[in-house]
Symmetry: C2
Subunit: 409 residues, 2 copies
């Protein structure tokens, strides 16, 4: 048993002084409030649940600060992204992902959902032993961050088009090939306790509609399923032209819009799309810094929340790795869109960031210690830190009960 | 003579290796490129001109993280802002501004334009010896930052309305009272070498149109003049109702739209407004983090630049003090507005941040040393740092040749 004493901690939506959290094997077994530290306790200051990074492409970190020259349009970004994807090797990706996941952990993310499609060799042939996926799991173990590895089905280059040359390493031939590899991968990951295997459909562009139901049916019911949805208007236009419905409606028609769905971006939605996602209780992963960088636009986050959906945040292309900047932008970009303040409450921003209202018995003890007296944060109401703090204010991250201090600032 | 050797420095729009900058009394007297350090040189890594904070209300720092609860609308923000303005004393403001200006300096700002209207006692009577203004100049001296003190004329509470109770300390009775105090203040500031006196009209709401020309005529021609312009639609509606023209057009009609004008915000403009500001070569101070926080909207910055205006950045309410976050948002918010990447070039962002294309002989040596190998910045093209770096990457700030390292992170 390890006990942590927090001078202030978030419990059930409130900041409570003197919170003593007992843990066993990294899970919370007891929470005492309004109490003093005991001998042997790990003493912490202000502590909140760790941020959940619900959408990442780790290798995009290589593009940071390298796509804004010479006009810097979307196609330039895309060309360089494919070049980086083409050059990845298992050893290289292990090193890179370790560095990227460490940056995430130091910024306050305690878990990352890695949307992973670079799973084959550049020529499309498989690695002998899930080399790329094991590399990512090793990287998460080295960085000390929880990994939800979203192995991604990516079968075609667009509506009715085969994979392009630079996309061949994303493919599995057909949906059955992907499912077979997915199940074998689950066994192969058994030795990585911080890694959980989830699944992703790259987008409705990348998978035939007739294969969507096979994806859902071929996965165990509890497995999370993520999909890129309606990030840019062109995706909607192509889907409407080919299928007569929006991407959300196409996913719904094949049974994918359920509570286990995480719809990533959801920037350009119709009212019906919003109702479908809300009624299902799906999670919407907003990636504010990426959606700004790529000029996607500002999605209808408050409308989705009102309709019944849950909100989450993702660092996506990792041009920025800072959960506080994501939560701040989640609110502030809505203010720009709606031209009014106070769109989300601070409690809603904490929940979008960490998928919880505070520490609970039974949950893993994944936590962030934050400096409330830094040059940035002094004077702020601690509830309002998602609008105020930044990654540099994180003084410790705890994943499954194991504490690390940021390596550099 | 003090010489600084920079491993890499921005000169004439390019990053040049091995730049040796000679200074005399804080001004640049020589620049050698592609050279080695000499004995006695101050050795620096990557060095860029200091950021110019072109719009600040220092005391608003007290509102950071304190106005987002209970709905957090604009009126709640405004009520709390007036409460803080009412409570300021010269000694208290000296301490607060020292802390705020130090935060600015550590983040990479080497000068701040303080838009200052809390210049009287709460009951509207004057202080005996410019106590508030001297307090701000003292704070700038303590923090080691250059101060452009914009003493502000603020005579009425709205179109046709006297100052409200909580605004009385902003007033000077009439424009002649303000001008007399302004000239006396200039003499009183003679002993503060880092402080220069400028002027501001709070807004067209706060000054009668017939007084605008008197302001311009009563100031020496070289004195900078700043005005809040069209931050929110309501200001435009009131001005149109009262005067039949927009705020920009009203300022132009009274001779204030010239090269010495800095128009702050300029969020909601007509095409004619843009042409007037551009043709005059006025400076437009965009305050992206504040304009997001207050839900103002995203102003037509690229259109203004194309019309001939210059762009600058300001931290305004100081909810965020980070010039890098302002330059990043300057670009990224335009991408959200226009739904395309690459609106401004990196060179345009550096220029908006620092009002220069690089170090020049004759300029003051105001500079920032930035860590290009931090967890945030590694791998980025140094030209693209305005989209990548953050305040925590600043390793030294130099103002008038005097170097300081950040106090805290």
């Amino acid at each position: 048993m390890t006990a942590f004493h927090c001078a202030l901690a978030l419990v059930a939506g409130r900041f409570v002084p003197g919170v003593r959290i007992e843990t066993e094997d990294g899970a919370i077994t007891g929470i005492d409030q309004g109490t003093h530290a005991q001998a042997g306790d790990v003493q912490l200051t202000t502590v909140v649940p760790g941020f959940v990074n619900a959408h990442s492409h780790a290798f995009h970190r290589l593009l940071r600060g390298r796509t804004h020259d010479d006009g810097g349009d979307f196609w330039q970004w895309r060309t360089r992204m494919y070049a980086e994807a083409g050059a990845l090797t298992p050893d290289g990706y292990r090193d890179l992902a370790t560095r990227v996941f460490t940056e995430m952990r130091d910024a306050g993310y305690t878990s990352v959902a890695e949307f992973h499609y670079v799973h084959h060799r550049p020529d499309g042939t498989p690695y002998p032993a899930h080399d790329m996926e094991i590399a990512l799991a090793d990287a998460a173990a080295s960085a000390g961050i929880r990994l939800l590895l979203l192995d991604t089905v990516y079968l075609r280059g667009g509506v009715g088009a085969p994979l392009a040359e630079e996309q061949r390493r994303f493919g599995d031939g057909d949906v059955h090939g992907w499912l077979a590899r997915w199940h074998a991968l689950r066994d192969a990951l058994a030795g990585h306790p911080l890694t959980e295997l989830g699944a992703a459909v790259h987008s409705v562009r990348a998978v035939e509609p007739t294969d969507l139901a096979a994806v859902a049916a071929g996965l165990p019911a509890e497995v999370p399923l993520h999909v890129h949805v309606s990030e840019q208007p062109a995706e909607n236009e192509q889907c409407l032209a080919a299928h007569g419905v929006t991407p959300t409606q196409l996913l719904a028609a094949h049974g994918l819009v359920t509570e286990r769905l995480s719809a990533v971006h959801a920037t350009h939605l119709t009212d019906l799309d919003i109702q479908l996602l809300g009624a299902a209780g799906a999670t919407i992963v907003m990636c504010p810094t990426t959606e700004a960088d790529l000029g996607d636009g500002i999605g209808p986050a408050p409308e989705l929340l009102a309709a019944g959906a849950r909100l989450a945040i993702g660092s996506d292309q990792n041009a920025v790795i800072d959960p506080w900047e994501e939560t701040a932008r989640l609110e502030l970009d809505q203010r720009l869109r709606l031209q009014r303040r106070g769109v989300f409450s601070p409690a809603q921003l904490w929940r979008a960031g960490s998928a919880t209202d505070g520490f609970r018995v039974g949950d893993a003890f994944d936590a962030v210690e934050v400096d409330t007296g830094s040059t940035r944060t002094w004077g702020a109401d601690v509830h309002q830190l998602p609008l105020v703090a930044r990654s540099g204010d994180v003084t410790a991250t705890i994943v499954a009960g194991r504490m690390t201090r940021p390596q550099e600032r």
